[in-house]
Amino acid sequence: MNRKCIAMLLAGGQGSRLYALTKDVAKPSVPFGGKYRIIYFPLSNCANSGIDVVGMLTQYKPLQLNSYIGSGQAYDLDSSDGGVFILPPYQSAGEKGSWFSGTANAIYQNIAFIENYDPENVLILSGDHIYKMDYSDMLREHVQNGAACTIAVKQVSMEEATRFGILSCGEDGFINEFEEKPKHPKSDLASMGIYIFNWKKLREYLVADENDPNSSKDFGKNIIPNMLAAGEKMWPYRFDGYWRDVGTIVSLWDANMDMLGNTLMDLFDASWPIRSKSPIRPPHYAGPDSKINHSIVTEGCEVYGEVSNSVLSSSVTVGRGAQVFYSILMPGATVEDGAVVRYSIIGENTKVRAGARVGTDPDGSADWNVATCGPNIEIGAGAVIKAGAMIYDSVAAGEGSDA
């Protein structure tokens, strides 16, 4: 059956710059904004855009990710002749099989999957961005302009431009130059890492690139520059909505804080729901002496202490007299009685024991940063975790305290 467009979602990223938060899970599985995981955003965008086949390429610690996806039903992506398909690296007959060596190689290894659907176009997505985008609108522009490739772009500041792939356009509006992380950017149009390719064209370039021993098999480094060099028609799709890369601790913390106001991204918008698969827990409960302001709180939480400017995912407990300020508490995290958590990210199911202190307010010094405690650990009673600390393993009671 011929399809206009299917999506391939690159979800194999380790997310090494999230350090302790990705010690047990892949980056796309990292919890976000109370109810979500990063991957729910592109998946919901697909469902809302009418894309009903999504191939999800996994590689690093995929187990949790697989369980969140299931049949895709939670994202309304289960259908009789489509759905979400998890595509791990595999071995074909007579070959040794190998890990995905780059983003382009990951797609190359799954050419057979794509051909099953005989699509006219393929949408390439990554699993580390928070945004709401109508891919069907992007596809319309792609088709109208007869482009071989359309790249979603967003205007950034010139300072930021050095961190992105930067595009320049000619008078006809088509892209005529692409530079990966330029020192002196010529434009402020950044690639969002979202591409729609004409499948026949992409297939040619994937096969050619695979045979190039010097290629790093990457879309940004190889496929896009090669297509440009060959004079293919490449169209920029301009996006001016909310879009954040959450690949670092600070950007993850920032983007979570953005969710406290619905001006940047309206998660309540019923016309573009971000679907989630979360355990069904009773509503959250706030005790008689609790104080909660400018925060989001999710079902299953029990709040007896004080919470301000924070994001509480499902089933978080904040004990009596505990304080949680400017922090992100991932699912199942516990802050026991009298503990204080400031400017911190607390991983899934991690317990901050009574009287422990994690993180401090910004003090203006250059080395201050958000404190991070990885998932499934314990911060012992009375222990003190400094600002900017990156905690992978449990910390004994009283450790780090001056007393």
Partner: protein
């Protein structure tokens, strides 16, 4: 597969639920911030591994149909068997009681593939380990196992006098308030043949009562009814007053944890709501709040369902606010039960009393 079939009676609603059952049957009454009463029966069955379930319905069942759907939330959407909704045949009139309802679905019962049937009412809120009830039932060799409580159910109920061997000696019909013996929660496990036997025994207008003629008749004919004690929290919701009390019970940690034990989750229809947002001036004292709400005002001793908006300066005390109700800025509510989709305009003040909470019907504009 578990050798047990679920049969949920969602046919009748108590009249004392008044406005709350104008647009629904009591089995689909919203409860505890995000559930419908039938979720407890369905989840009890699901947690015991039961996948084949019939739901007997009679009137006002469109909200129940909408809520249950294919049953996929409870893993009951199956290729073979699964969840079956059993609406009345046309012309069968109102079911007079359990026997009437069972006679109407007799064909369905005869086709049940499992040897045992768990029969229950769809409006009971309780977390019951039906797997254990089933195990005890088979081990005891009883004809029927009745799940009972040492507590006192709301309104008229039936009681059993229990012998030292744990079997019922007598059945006391239509009691109110505390009394001798233990009270039936109207959750029964029995073999399919026993169930059909009871229906057969009650074959005419003079002996048409499930408890009096069915179970009572079984006892006097030498049949054995085993009593299984459910000592945890339960609420059989029969009136607005009872609904209000049970809702407020959910603000107590102990009762909440008994109704929602971690190892037997209660599932319901998902909506993919966002987390609830609390504004700068929000206050929440002793309240239960579901996802998808925006809270800018003050809550005290409230149960707030999904998607509710509480405006700035609004003060809600001792209230139950059902899903998607919009409470404007400056509103003051005390002892109010607002049904779904109500809209309460700016600065309105409404007050009921602890004995008589004020009910705003579904979709009210105040």
């Amino acid at each position: 597969m578990v050798n047990l079939h679920g049969l949920i009676l969602a046919d009748r609603s108590s009249r004392d639920l008044r406005e709350l059952v104008m647009v629904r049957t009591s089995s689909s009454l919203p409860f505890a911030g995000r559930y419908r009463l039938i979720d407890f029966s369905l989840s009890n069955l699901q947690n015991a591994g039961v996948r084949d379930v019939g739901v007997v319905m009679q009137r006002n069942f469109s909200s129940l149909l909408d809520h249950i759907g294919s049953g996929k939330e409870w893993d009951m959407s199956r290729k073979r068997g699964g969840l079956k909704l059993l609406p009345p045949f046309t012309g069968s009139g109102e079911y007079e009681g359990i026997i009437d309802a069972l006679e109407n679905v007799r064909g369905y019962i005869e086709d049940i593939k499992q040897d045992y049937v768990a029969l229950m009412r769809g409006n009971l809120a309780a977390s019951i380990d039906l797997g254990d009830v089933m195990y005890q039932h088979v081990r005891s060799g009883a004809d029927v196992t009745a799940v009972c409580t040492p507590g006192t159910p709301e309104g008229e109920h039936h009681r059993f006098i229990v012998g030292e061997d744990g079997f019922a000696k007598d059945i006391l019909l239509r009691r109110t308030g505390p009394g001798e013996g233990v009270a039936s929660l109207q959750v029964y496990i029995m073999s399919k043949d026993t169930l059909l036997g009871i229906v057969d025994r009650c074959d005419n207008a003079l002996n048409h009562k499930f408890h009096r003629d069915g179970l009572g008749g079984l006892l006097s004919a030498g049949g054995k009814i085993k009593i299984y004690m459910h000592n945890d929290y339960f609420a059989n919701i029969m009136s607005v007053d009872g609904y209000y009390k049970a809702s407020m019970d959910m603000l107590e940690r102990e009762k909440r944890s008994q109704l929602f034990p971690a190892d037997r989750p209660v599932r319901t229809k998902g909506r993919s709501d966002v987390s609830t947002y609390y504004g700068d001036q929000a206050v929440n004292r002793n309240s239960l709040v579901a996802d998808g709400c925006i809270i800018e005002g003050t809550l005290e001793n409230c149960v707030i369902f999904r998607g509710v908006h509480v405006g700035a300066g609004a003060v809600l005390k001792n209230c139950i606010i059902m899903q998607d109700t919009y409470v404007s800025d400056g509103v003051e509510l005390n002892y109010v039960i607002s049904d779904k989709d109500a809209f309460i305009s700016k600065d309105v003040t409404l007050s009921g009393s602890p004995k008589l909470p004020l009910v705003l019907p579904k979709g009210s504009k105040i």
